[in-house]
């Protein structure tokens, strides 16, 4: 497979996974109007959970999702209920953001305490050389494919939920207008809590895939959140399709820069793209104008 | 009679909804003009188009025969068009007096009423002339004793008066009032009416959107009825009151307001 094609494939597949994590983040923004800065460290948490399940209980990553996803869902609901919902007053959204930041550093500190700062990686079937498929001289690891498929699956599930279920309709109504949603009988608090839970649960899957492909430690959370934030800004905050598209686009660009120019600069380019987009199109690709006057 | 403010064929659509449809309107200088119509007829949208809170799809807006279409809100304001909002917009954490000062300082009109405009940004906010003028206006609207209170502590009616006050401090030629009587208790409505009449006597032109028929009919010289984004009839209150088309435009009688604000 040509270098170009390989770089693009890598980018798209990896982008899909980032897309999954970004979708959660943008969903939270759309419904609750807050930016969950903790999303990055939660991905790492998901990765660590998967790691623990594997190394101590020998549970395969994909099977482990059956545990990690509900666990992270509960965590998400708990965080929203305990730390976001009680916030009142005019600075609510700013404080929510800072609350998420606080939660993030708490989780990070706890992870450091438990696991230390050493990089962790899985060594199992999925990371072994056999788990690859050969395409034109290039060995594409299964995990990339499965990871991408998983990402697609979840995004499809989320879309299905949003557009085909009653709950999804409640979410979309809440995204439009909290007050109006309340007036038609939607329990906005419940919607908020559940949405947060879903968004965090999704990171369990993202974390699992990420952990399989990359070594990580608690500090990785920063790298992740900064990328995710850039992705949702580029895609347009609140736009799910935008998050996915932007993820694939930016990771692919980064992948190309990595291969054709200089790995050191690929990350800088990533942010440079963000900055450029903001200069010319502040609302991102599919962004809506910020509806709620602050 | 000269025409002060004029729109010509203004149209504006939001997605699939045609909010304004070839809207042509005139406001004579020195008059109090009313704009009524059922909910969704485009009244606030028209205000937004005139004052720059949105771009027209087609058509033009003229102030004293000068085209001001799509001018930004601050330019429109600087040219002498003041505007209040349906849901009052005041600076909540600032005091009433500070609200007045913000509006005063950024206006660049007749210099003889203002303090010397300094280039120094650290100059104290609100020189003595500005403050005196602000207090005069606050006394005029009756909320002078709240001058030191934060705007967020004001009642809804008081906020309406504050908004009117700080729009006034800019000495506009014409003021667009968006539902000045909406949600306000009856005694206060009378006050607002009086104040508008008084200001009009002193030369300010008004264009008022309202649902309260008593208010509009009692105050305005000319009333335009908007229906589905298009003015259907214009005339003095007595004529409008009995016009078939007005009754048709509204669901129910012209006196009742069954689509509550």
């Amino acid at each position: 497979m040509g270098t170009f094609l390989r770089a693009v494939t890598d980018g798209v597949l990896e982008g899909g996974v980032y897309g999954l994590m970004a979708v959660g983040l943008t969903l939270i923004f759309g419904v609750l109007d807050i930016i969950n800065i903790a999303q990055g460290i939660m991905v790492v948490l998901g990765a660590y959970l998967t790691y623990v399940l594997w190394t101590h209980l020998h549970i395969d990553q994909f099977v482990g999702l059956l545990i990690t996803i509900p666990a992270m869902f509960i965590l998400g609901v708990a965080v929203q209920y305990l730390f976001i919902r009680p916030l009142r007053g005019r600075e609510r959204t700013s404080m929510s953001l800072l609350a998420c930041y606080a939660v993030a550093i708490i989780i990070e500190g706890v992870l450091y305490q438990i696991f230390g700062s050493n990089y962790v990686s899985y060594t199992d079937y999925w990371t072994s050389p056999q788990a690859t498929v050969e395409i034109g001289g290039y060995y594409l690891p299964y995990i990339y494919l499965f990871g991408f498929a998983l990402a697609v699956l979840f995004v499809v599930l989320i879309y299905w939920m949003l557009y085909r279920t009653q709950f999804g309709r409640s979410i979309r109504a809440t995204m439009q207008d909290h007050t109006a949603a309340r007036l038609i009988g939607i329990d906005v608090n419940r919607v908020a809590a559940l949405t947060f839970g879903i968004a965090v649960a999704v990171t369990a899957a993202g974390g699992m895939v990420y952990g399989t492909t990359t070594a990580f430690n608690p500090n990785t959370g920063y790298d992740l959140i900064s990328r995710l934030l850039a992705i949702i800004v580029l895609g347009g905050m609140g736009s799910i399709g935008g998050a996915l598209g932007a993820a694939v686009l930016m990771i692919t660009v980064e992948s190309l820069v990595d291969v054709y120019w200089n790995p050191q600069w690929s990350v800088v380019v990533f942010y440079a793209v963000l900055v450029l987009v903001l200069v010319f199109r502040p609302q991102g690709m599919f962004g809506r104008k910020e509806a709620r006057a602050q | 009679m000269t025409v002060l403010l004029r729109t010509e064929g203004v149209s504006k659509a939001f997605g699939g909804v045609q909010a304004l449809d070839d809207c042509t309107l005139q406001v004579e200088e020195g008059s109090i003009a009313g704009l009524i119509g059922p909910n969704g007829s485009g009244k606030t949208t028209l205000f937004n188009m005139i004052t720059g809170y949105g771009r027209v799809d087609s058509g033009d807006v003229f102030l004293n025969d000068a085209k001001i279409t799509n001018f930004t809100p601050d330019r429109v304001f600087a040219l002498g068009i003041g505007r209040t909002f349906q849901l009052t917009r005041v600076f909540s954490r600032l005091t009433v007096m500070e609200n007045m000062i913000v509006a005063a300082h950024t206006k660049d009109r007749s210099g003889h009423h203002g303090d010397k405009r300094t280039r120094n940004p650290f100059a104290r906010a609100g020189g003595p002339v500005t403050r005196r003028r602000a207090m005069e206006l606050l006394e005029f609207t009756g909320i002078a004793k709240l001058a030191g209170d934060r705007a967020e502590t004001l009642s809804y009616g008081q906020r309406k008066l504050l908004e009117l006050s700080y729009v006034l401090i800019a000495e506009p030629e014409i003021i667009l009032l968006d539902e000045p009587a909406g949600g306000v208790n009856p005694t206060l409505i009378g006050t607002i009416s009086d104040r508008i009449r008084e200001l009009n006597r002193q030369g300010t032109t008004f264009l008022i959107v309202e649902h309260n028929m008593e208010f509009v009919m009692g105050l305005c010289d000319q009333v335009t009825v908007l229906d589905n984004g298009n003015p259907v009839v214009t005339g003095p209150p007595d004529v409008i009151r009995n016009d078939r088309r007005v009754l048709d435009a509204y669901l129910g009688t012209a006196e009742e307001d069954d689509d509550a604000a």
Binding site: I105 | R83, V102, S155, N185, L188
Partner: protein, 359 residues
């Protein structure tokens, strides 16, 4: 002059005098902690000049601090400076930070508040990455500062006084801005930016100016930090906790107020500094910081000072009411317009007589 002003002014002068006297205790540990306390006071006040007044939460202040660190570091390294000369470079660090603030602000301030926060975070990461990746910043090894052989007892004193000057300077600056036309416009932007713009406030210009002004002290303090620590490292120069700490201090003391950030810093930094010495594990300190932050914003959302201030005002009003209630109700001022009466009857729950709290 009103007694309130005299009280305030007097206590502030006293505070500064006390602060200036601390190094005379000849206790280097105390002075060392003092340096950090003052650094945070200065930073928090500066941060608040932009974020508190306009309401735009910036999580990229570390960019300014770090720029100051590296500017001083590079100048010191290339010009082979030492001692007092290094101190002379601090204002240049401040200037560099202010210069960086211009393009930073021009890009970041074009977007709304939520996106703004994200953009500041992005800039932070860009700068941190550049510090790690560029060769002229020394990469992961950073830049070493000159060795200094001063008397250990008074080692921290020059740093202390510099930090004190910057802290006081920032506070004075914040105070000057607060009462000025510029400050009023900033605060109006916080309350209703669109309306402010509609009334003619040049919002972009105003926001950018505040942004640049807030960068300057942080840059100076960054330079100070470099010399104090003896090296410039990417993770310390561009430290994500810096912003969170500043935000916490401001919220703790009262976000958007004048004395809030000062109070918050004075309250919090000694603890944080102490914790750093006592708690060998930096990660536990991290967890505690986060937990503390959550506790503050959930239980004391307006911050300590405003909450206390409000309680005080409501006690005072209740006391006035009780003593006034013994007499007949005060007579209406002669010639009050019917409008005022109507307004009173129309008013539902409009502040106690005597008004809400003034600020």
């Amino acid at each position: 002059m009103k007694p309130a002003v005299l009280w305030r002014g007097g206590s502030l002068v006293a505070l500064v005098a006390v602060a200036a006297a601390v190094p005379l205790l000849n206790n280097p540990l105390v002075t060392n902690v003092g340096v950090f306390v003052l650094m945070y006071v200065g930073s928090a006040v500066a941060w608040n000049i932009f974020s508190g007044f306009t309401g735009y939460i910036s999580l990229g202040a570390a960019v300014f601090f770090g720029t100051g660190v590296y500017t001083t570091a590079l100048l010191t390294e290339h010009l082979k400076l030492n001692g007092g000369a290094v101190f002379a470079t601090y204002p240049l660090g401040g200037l560099a930070a202010a210069v960086i603030a211009v393009p930073f602000g021009l890009i970041a301030l074009r977007v709304r508040r939520h996106t703004f926060v994200v953009v500041t975070i992005a800039f932070f990461f860009i700068f941190q990455l550049m510090a790690y990746d560029f060769s002229w910043t020394g990469g992961t090894l950073g830049i070493l500062g000159p060795i200094v052989n001063w008397d250990p007892n008074t080692f921290y004193n020059p740093f202390y006084y510099t930090a004190l000057i910057v802290a006081v300077g920032s506070a004075v600056l914040a105070w000057a801005i607060w009462g000025s036309r510029f400050g009023l416009q900033l605060r109006a932007i916080r309350d209703d930016e669109d309306r402010a713009r509609g009334l003619g406030v040049k919002t972009m210009r105003v926001k950018l100016t505040a942004f640049v002004i807030s960068a300057f002290p942080m840059g100076i303090l960054g330079g100070l930090y470099f010399f104090l620590q003896g090296q410039a490292l990417p993770e310390y120069a561009f430290n994500p906790f810096y912003d969170l700490t500043l935000a916490l201090m401001s919220f703790l003391g009262g976000f958007g107020t004048l004395s809030g950030p000062i109070f918050g810093a004075l309250l919090l930094e000694p603890y944080l500094g102490y914790a750093q010495y006592q708690v060998t594990n930096a990660y536990v300190a991290e967890v505690v910081l986060g937990a503390l932050f959550l506790a503050v914003i959930i239980f004391l959302p307006r911050g300590i000072l405003p909450t206390v201030g409000e309680k005080f005002t409501s006690w005072r009003v209740a006391w006035v009411r009780r003593s006034a209630g013994a007499q007949a109700a005060p007579a209406e001022p002669a010639g009050a317009s019917p409008a005022a009466d109507a307004v009173k009857t129309g008013a539902a729950g409009s502040g106690a007589p005597g008004g809400g709290s003034q600020r």
